[in-house]
């Protein structure tokens, strides 16, 4: 990274490492730049280091090595209360002994803002999250979704330019979670704030983010836009972690331009796009999305399949098949008019395009 781009970025992690015990690095050499107004999600399984990164940015954890920059200024030695970063916590952390109004005016009080201005700001932010009538309630009297809105309002009320969210929707039920995803996304667009969002829910990440950083083992595996992440995963972990994936392992026999010819362990020979695989003779993993597999015999890769199980899911039918020795090969058959009706135990043909089949690290 050039020094210039670090200065320009709104938030920058520059070779950041973090260890709690001096033996294991939970964050290994993290470099990440976030521009102003961006919505970046840190996505990954638990223990992947994403929350640690967020906590370092908020100031609750100290980086063992490297710099964290906010608006070009290193903030490693700035205490959390001077960073001016809004934060929404996993279980909201609304102060239980204060009313909603008092919770919201707390950040304004500690900033010594006058009473009338405080009341005005609290009223505005409550209206913004559509909770105008709730100023005198206690957090315990609110539902999970309402508490969530108040927590959001509290992080926004003091005009923070950067808002961090640590799995804020984790405690909500599915329907409410989806609605809140849209609301947070819209608030982000309206207010022009920068959001760093941590979640382990990939659909949440894909729905809301401008860019997603997929974490595993303390390393960003891929940083990309949601569609790139799904359609063009760069390594086996991302392919497996984001969305559903069929993996077929084998050895590279030959390379032809952008493509490789792979001898699969099950005997089939497949042609795939070389993305992140080794040289001829190395092992590789082919990734094929279930919805990119067709039930015909005329693609560039075509083979026999034995239908093992059919699950009816309304808009599509999930079909588990044995393909090239793997009996967990999934095909999604859209429930379109005139689609092919399969029967368990039936032998059929499956095929996919070369560009839909990506050769990744084994």
């Amino acid at each position: 990274m050039s020094q210039k781009s670090l200065q320009d970025a709104f938030v920058a992690f520059d070779h950041v490492q973090k260890s709690y015990d001096g033996e294991i690095l939970v964050v290994k050499d993290l470099n990440l730049q976030i521009s102003k107004g961006e919505f970046v999600t840190m996505l990954g399984p638990s223990g992947s280091g994403k929350t640690t990164c967020l906590m370092m940015l908020a100031g609750f954890e100290v980086a063992t090595h490297g710099d964290i920059l906010l608006k070009g200024q290193p903030i490693n030695n700035t205490p959390p209360h001077k960073r001016g970063i809004g934060m929404v916590f996993q279980n909201y952390a609304l102060f239980p002994h204060m009313t909603v109004g008092e919770n919201l005016s707390f950040p304004l009080e500690v900033r010594k803002i006058g009473k009338s201005e405080r009341e005005e700001k609290v009223r505005l932010v409550l209206d913004m999250v559509q909770m105008g009538d709730f100023a005198y309630r206690r957090p315990a009297q609110l539902s999970g979704g309402q508490q969530q809105r108040i927590a959001l309002a509290r992080a926004l009320v003091f005009d923070a330019e950067l808002v961090l969210m640590d799995e804020p929707l984790g405690a909500l039920d599915k329907q409410l979670r989806e609605r809140m995803q849209y609301e947070i996304k819209h608030l982000h667009e309206q207010l022009g704030i920068t959001v760093v969002y941590v979640t382990h829910d990939q659909s949440e990440a894909l729905t809301m983010s401008d860019r997603v950083a997929v974490f595993d083992d303390g390393v960003i595996q891929q940083l990309a836009k949601p569609d790139d992440l799904y359609e063009r995963p760069e390594n086996a972990f991302v392919a497996q972690f984001i969305g559903e994936n069929n993996k077929l392992e084998g050895i590279i026999r030959a390379q032809e331009g952008d493509n490789v010819i792979v001898d699969l362990d099950g005997g089939m020979t497949a042609r795939a796009l070389a993305v992140n695989c080794g040289a001829v003779g190395d092992r590789t993993m082919l990734s094929v999305r279930p919805e990119r597999v067709a039930l015909t015999g005329d693609g560039s890769n075509s083979t026999d399949a034995l239908v093992q199980e059919l699950i009816y899911l309304g808009d599509h039918i999930r079909c588990r098949m044995t393909v090239s020795g793997h009996n967990d090969f999934i095909v999604k058959v859209p429930n379109a008019s005139g689609h092919k009706h399969l029967v368990v135990g039936e032998n059929t043909k499956v095929s996919w395009q070369t560009e839909d089949c990506r050769a990744l690290d084994a």
Binding site: A58, G59, F60, P79, P80, H81, K82, R83, G84, I85, G86, M87, F89, Q90, N91, A93, L94, F95, P96, H97, F106, P107, V110, R111, R154, A155, F158, L164
Partner: protein
Amino acid sequence: MVPPVHFTERVTMTDSTDAGPVLAADGTPLKKKLAQALFVSRARAFGLVLPLLAFILVSFIIPILSLMVQGVKNDTYSANMPASTEIMKGWDGISEPTEKMFAALVLDLIKAREEKSIGRVATRVNREVSGTRSMFTKAARKAGKLEAPFMAAMLNIDEDWGNIEVWGAMKVSSQTYSAAFYAAAVDADYNADGSFERLDEKDRIYVYLFIKTLLVSLAVTLACLALGYPVAWLLASLPMRTSNLLMILVLLPFWTSLLVRTTAWIAMLQSHGVLNNVFVWLGITTDETRFSLIYNMTGTIIAMTHILLPFMILPLYSVMKGISPAYLRAAKSLGATNWTAFWRVYFPATIPGIGAGGLLVFILAIGYYITPALVGGQDGQLISNFIAYHMQKSLNWSLAAALGGILLVIVLAIYWLYDKVVGIDNMKMG
């Protein structure tokens, strides 16, 4: 409410608006049916509680009730001196004693001497007016030989028999139920005519002692809070392994014998003890002006604080353990300094623990007996020590009961006040 028409079958079963009480399927009222169904489980639950209930009844409720009764009831006189008790009821306590009263007294004295109860009676009257004990025993010895007129005969034995105060004391003593002991417990005199009178300033002890006990309890509670709060915070925030070790240190006083602890305090605090030696060595004091830290109020407060500290730390710890660290983080992320975050967010969340610990320590301290007895000396004695004194030494059980009754009322009043101000449901023991 109008039931939907197409549910007519269900409506006839459950509708209670115009068909009386709701009936179960077999026609009995639903309430009765429910009570029957729940009876077995309720009976079983009650059976499980029964041993404890019986134990509490025998070991706690009955003693307390009998204590309350002791405080107002004393039949030493009325049971042993029936004739004078009867005639005393008609006396107003002001006019001169009559020949009839003397006659009844002589009759009673003869009887009491025969039954060997005269000593107890004399002691009882002596508590009202001191110095009367020997009058009774002397008169009882001679009563058998006395002849009418008894007034003159009695005055012949001792001129004080004409003293109206002695007769007043007898009238008060003759009342089986009287407020005399409660009056004594608040430094007042209960007179034969039913009036109360405060004792002379120099004779007052108990009110001062009650106030002293309350102040000492308050001081101990505050000391426990000041010392215990940081420890509880450490316990709650340190990693498990370290906090377990610390917890053992906190609980150590619980596991140490009271006598060992007290001996340790003596070794520490006496004028040639560890602490004073250190003070002299540091030049804080000189060898001639060593601090007296034990056998006085200071010793009582130090030792009681030490002993009661775990009762403050444990409720505080359990409350603090439940406070998510996210609250403090949230406060800081919102711009609060450590100090503001503590006072505005953390401290209010610990109030239930402070309430529970404070109430526990205060109420325990108010009734504390052994520690003041061992390290309190003259100055550090509390009300409980006087209750014990009246139970064991002076054998004035009624006064002990009255003092105990007042202590109980004070504790209940504090409890009530706490409920009004903080709210008892706010309290958290763990």
